[in-house]
Amino acid sequence: MPSAKKSSSRASILGAAALLTLLLGAAQTALAQNKAPIKIGAISSLTGAAVFPESSQAAKAVFDRVNAAGGIGGRMIEYISEDDKFDPAGASQAARRLIDDEGVVALAGSASPIECNVNAAFYAQRSVLSVSGVGIDTKCFTSANIAPVNVGPYSEAAAAMYYASNTLKRGKVCFVGNANPAQNAGYDGAVARWEKLSGQKLALLDRTLRPGDDLTPTLLKVQRAGCEAVIFSGVEPQVVAWMNAASTQKIKGIDFIMLSAAYTDRLAKALGNVGNGMYAISAFEPFSGSAGTLTDWHTLMNASKVPLNSFSQAGYVAANVMVDALKKVKGEITRQSVTAALRGLKNYRSPLMGSAYTFGSGANNPNQSVKIVRLRGGQWVTVNTTWLRLPAAGQ
């Protein structure tokens, strides 16, 4: 008997030890899981023909601040910013690295002219959402898995035309832009939307420019068509050449309205007085203004040495959307729960944005409000202090 008793007590000790190890192990993994960082990705054009580094830099500043304050429920945010090199193959590789290798729960603050087109289908396949900072190509605004915080060139173009016809009361509105087949559908949609809203037709539509083209012949065409307002969707060097050509040809009485790509300090500096009177669209509270709503963004960007422009505003807004969604997650933070939290954001307001942010399950282009800025003596001046909200077509 004693031996039997001995063996049973040994068995119970062994059992208790096994149980203890198991419990300890479980506790350890639970602890490790709690401490493992929450991985958020971004894909931007950081090197290449055109670069957009400020959005992800600003997003990183927001996440760093959250981490410094203790993270999300004790878990740090690890922000992984990838470079697509303005190259579709690079964008595709970056997405696979982030989603398959790193296992990010979502993306925030991406800024690239090609990334959405390349990766929208992959995001849908992997059920990952991207709170894009600067969406440019058409897919950024037609995918259920991407919802940019910026207005985007197409809604901006529609807003610019709407401003020309409804606020400036210009009868002959014209549109001049680059020949880029990837953007045709977007701009065609914008023109159709504006025509419905205003009941007007464009007096001239010329989307045949190429980046290095001499712009004087096109400017003459604008003059011939009797344009009273011209929406010009060119990039910065083209805007400089366009305004220079207009000044050489002594063109007066035409309002030139540029999209937000032209709303930069360096363009204001390059143009100086030649740009006097030129309008541009701001997708956020104009960064050159002094609105109180800019204070937090201003302070954070200065502290993190990120340039003050609309791209860093975009990254700041996108990262804040993400942080607030993460805070709403109940239970474990996974790709699924973050997706649910983002989709559940109802009427999310950012002080820098005129529209509410929502992440629907259809096409997403939540930011539909712009402000107008104007160049005066090499300085940007905010024209309208209230948001110009673009009505949906048919309203």
Binding site: G212, D213, D214, L215, P217, T218, P237, A241, A270
Partner: protein, 284 residues
Amino acid sequence: MLQSALAGLAAGGAYALLGACVVLLYRMVGVLNFSTAAVGAFGAYASLEFLDLGWPYWVAALGGIAVGTLLSGGIGWVMSRWFFEVSVGVRSTVTIALLIGLLGLAHRAFGDAPKAVPSAFPGASLDLGVTISSDALLALGLATALALGVGAFLNRTLLGVQLRALSERPTTAELLGIPARRLSLLVWLFGGAAATVAVLVIAPTRPADFSSLSFLVLPAMAAALLGLFQNFTATLLGGVAVGLLEGLATYFDAVSPYRSVLPFVMVLLALLWTQRGEVWDAAR
């Protein structure tokens, strides 16, 4: 319609001037230099940096021309050192690699901020119903001067004849006692200066980003091809014709979207015309 065509005069002057630079190097050292405009743009961008330092325009321009000259000299040194004996095809291909290298280097060195390139004679212009800026006129004038001057130099002076010999048979020229390498380096230096002047004059009238300026070499080559890379006058006229045609094309909506391929249509027609007498086998 005439206005639209005349508006292309500025572009025409640019193509003619850069085309003359291309022909210059081809006739003198036997290289079809694809990096001509990129070297010029590099020099021009350097002068913009000097302007930012507060230098007066003409000093900054001279500084930029010096940079372009030295850069071209460096390329010439590499060419005469490593690619002296190789065929025209190989030498020309090397310049394509240089073009790509320069695009990357310039992006690093100068960034991608938009630049406003000041005009050499601001405010001056000619009104022909469409205003032709002083820069465009200067480009046309310089192209003419370069074409006539270099043409006469090559045909009428001993040095010119030596240079022609050098471009066609470098080794034979060297054996005949022509200081081939030194001469070719001299030509490269001059080519760099000319290209920088060209881009400095062209840039105020066009979107002045580095890659757009660098790729002006393509219509310029079309202009040069109209002169079969030999004839300066034909290059000059070809460049102006390409510019006028591009301007005119914006007037017609049906051809307007395709205006950037027009130079190549012109080249094709010119080639068909110049080769019209050739028998197929002999022409190959």
